[in-house]
C-alpha cells in the first residue's frame, strides 16, 4: 500500500469510529424512547445517552482498594476499541467494509467475543463478589449463545457457497448476494428460521432483558459493572452502544443487504447519504423487533433457563433451519428452482 492509501484508510477508520459511537448512542436513545412509549410513558429525549455519557465523564473515576488496577482500567479500553473495530469489517449502507479484504464473517464472530471477554476480565479484576458472580454468568451466557450463532453464520455462508458464490464467508459477497435471492421455497423458510435465531441471540450479546443475568440490577446491583464509575463506566457504555450498532449492522448485512441506490439511480453523494439513512432505518427496525419489543414484553431468565434456552431450544431450531437449507440445495435442481 502507498502512504496515500494508508492515510485514506486511516481517515475512513476514524470516520467509522465516530459513526459507531454516535450511531450507537442514537440507537440506544431510540430504543429507550420506544420502550417508554410502549409503557405509556413519555420517556427520555433521544439524546439522553449522549447526556449520560457526558455526565459520566464529569464524574470521579474510583478504583476500588481490592481491585487489580491495571486490569480494571484496561478492560473498558479493550471493550471500547474492539467493539468499534468490528464495524471496520461490516458493510454500512452502500460503503463496503473498510478492512473487508483482511477479514470475513468468521473474524467478526471472534471479534464480537472480545468486548464480552473484556467485561469478564474487568469484572474479575473489580474484586467485588457481585462483579465476580456477574463475570461467571457472562461467561456462561457467552458459551451458551456461541453455538446457535455459529449455526446461523455457517448456514448462511454454506448456502451461498452451494449456490456457487465465491468467498461465501466474505461480508462483501454476502451483502452483494442477499441469501433470500439464491434459495428456493424450502430455503426461504430455512433462512427465515436462521434470522429468528440470530434475532434471539442479539439481546444476549447486548446483555439486555431477558438475557441480562450478568448485570441483573435487582439481584447483582449491576453485576459486572458494579464497581465501575466515571470515565471507565462511560467507556463501557460507549462500547455497549457501539456493539448495538454493530449487531444491527451484522443482521442488516447478512439478511437485509439491499441498498436504495441499487433500485433508484442517483448521484454518488446523494446515494451515500440515502443509503446511510436507509441503513439506520433498517437498523432501528431490526433492533426494535430483536431488542426493544422483547425487553418490554419479557422478564429476566434465570441463568440455567438461559443456558437451556440457547443450547436446547434455539440450537434445535437453528439446526432445523440448516436442514431446510440443505433440503433446498438437494431439491433445488429437481424442482427447477433455486440454484
Amino acid at each position: 500500500m502507498t502512504p496515500a492509501e494508508i492515510a485514506l484508510l486511516a481517515a475512513w477508520c476514524a470516520a467509522l469510529s465516530l459513526f459507531a459511537l454516535a450511531g450507537g448512542l442514537l440507537l440506544s436513545g431510540i430504543d429507550r424512547k420506544l420502550a417508554a412509549h410502549m409503557q405509556a410513558r413519555i420517556g427520555p429525549p433521544i439524546r439522553q445517552p449522549f447526556i449520560d455519557t457526558v455526565k459520566l465523564l464529569q464524574k470521579d473515576t474510583v478504583v476500588p482498594a481490592n481491585a487489580i488496577p491495571w486490569l480494571f482500567n484496561a478492560a473498558p479500553v479493550v471493550a471500547l476499541v474492539s467493539s468499534v473495530l468490528v464495524l471496520f469489517y461490516i458493510p454500512v449502507g452502500s460503503t463496503m467494509p473498510v478492512l473487508g479484504a483482511y477479514g470475513d464473517l468468521v473474524l467478526v464472530m471472534y471479534l464480537l467475543t472480545v468486548p464480552a471477554l473484556a467485561l469478564v476480565a474487568g469484572g474479575f479484576a473489580s474484586g467485588s463478589p457481585y462483579a465476580t458472580v456477574g463475570a461467571q454468568r457472562e461467561m456462561v451466557t457467552m458459551i451458551a449463545y456461541e453455538f446457535p450463532l455459529a449455526i446461523v453464520v455457517i448456514g448462511v455462508a454454506w448456502r451461498l457457497g452451494a449456490a456457487g458464490i465465491s468467498h461465501p464467508f466474505a461480508l462483501q459477497s454476502i451483502a452483494a448476494n442477499p441469501v433470500w435471492s439464491v434459495t428456493g421455497p424450502l430455503g426461504l423458510a430455512g433462512v427465515f428460521i436462521l434470522l429468528v435465531v440470530l434475532a434471539a441471540i442479539t439481546p444476549a450479546e447486548l446483555s439486555r432483558i431477558p438475557f441480562d443475568t450478568q448485570e441483573a440490577e435487582t439481584e447483582l446491583a449491576g453485576g459486572l459493572l458494579v464497581e465501575y464509575s466515571g470515565r471507565n463506566l462511560a467507556m463501557f457504555s460507549l462500547a455497549q452502544a457501539a456493539k448495538t450498532l454493530v449487531l444491527a449492522a451484522i443482521i442488516v448485512a447478512v439478511f437485509f443487504p439491499w441498498t436504495l441506490s441499487s433500485f433508484l439511480a442517483m448521484p454518488p453523494v446523494v446515494a451515500l447519504a440515502a443509503d446511510l439513512l436507509f441503513f439506520l432505518l433498517k437498523a432501528v427496525l431490526v433492533l426494535f423487533f430483536a431488542v426493544t419489543l422483547v425487553r418490554v414484553a419479557m422478564a429476566r431468565f434465570r441463568i440455567n433457563e438461559l443456558v437451556s434456552f440457547y443450547w436446547v431450544y434455539l440450537s434445535v431450531i437453528g439446526l432445523a433451519g440448516l436442514l431446510l437449507l440443505m433440503a433446498d440445495v438437494i431439491a433445488g435442481p429437481l424442482a427447477g428452482v433455486g440454484i
Binding site: 413519555i42 439522553q48 447526556i51 455526565k55 457481585y130 435487582t218 447483582l220 464509575s229
Partner: protein, 144 residues
C-alpha cells in the same frame, strides 16, 4: 470539579434504607412508576452506589446502619447529592429519642435536600429533586 448543565439532565439515583418502616420506599417506587415517569428528565434508579449521582436516604439511621451509611456515602463518586426522604431522617420522626438511633441522617453525613412527610408524596419527592437541581445550578454558577 467541573460541572456543566448536562449533569442536571442525567441524575442517577441510588436508594439507601437506614432503618425505615418501608413507607418511604413505597413512595419512592411510586415516584418511579410510569405515571410520574422521572426517566423523561434522565433520572434513573441504579443498583450500585458507584454509578450514582444522588443518594436517597430513608429512615432514622439505626445504630447498626451508621457504618454502612458512611461507607456507601464514600463509595459514591464525586460530585454527589444527598436527599433525605421522610420525617424520620430529618428528626427521628416516630422514632424520636429512641435508644437505638445514631441519626438523624444529617448527624452522620451531609444532607443537601430534606423532603418532609411521613411518608412524603411522590410530588414532594419530585419537588425535592427540583430543589436539588437548583442547588446544583447555584454550584455551577459559582464555578463557571
Amino acid at each position: 470539579m467541573k460541572l456543566n448543565a448536562l449533569f442536571n439532565r442525567s441524575l442517577w439515583v441510588y436508594h439507601f434504607n437506614s432503618g425505615s418502616c418501608n413507607g418511604c420506599e413505597i413512595e419512592i417506587v411510586a415516584t418511579l412508576t410510569p405515571r410520574y415517569d422521572p426517566e423523561r428528565f434522565g433520572i434513573r434508579l441504579v443498583g450500585s452506589p458507584r454509578h450514582a449521582d444522588v443518594m436517597l436516604v430513608t429512615g432514622p439511621v439505626v445504630h447498626r446502619m451508621k457504618d454502612r451509611l458512611l461507607r456507601v456515602y464514600q463509595q459514591i463518586p464525586d460530585p454527589k447529592i444527598v436527599m433525605c426522604i421522610g420525617a424520620c431522617g430529618i428528626s427521628g420522626g416516630v422514632f424520636y429519642e429512641s435508644y437505638n438511633l445514631d441519626g438523624p441522617v444529617d448527624e452522620v453525613i451531609p444532607v443537601d435536600v430534606y423532603v418532609p412527610g411521613c411518608p412524603p408524596r411522590p410530588e414532594a419527592i419530585i419537588h425535592g429533586v427540583v430543589k436539588a437541581l437548583e442547588k446544583l445550578e447555584r454550584l455551577q454558577g459559582v464555578e463557571a
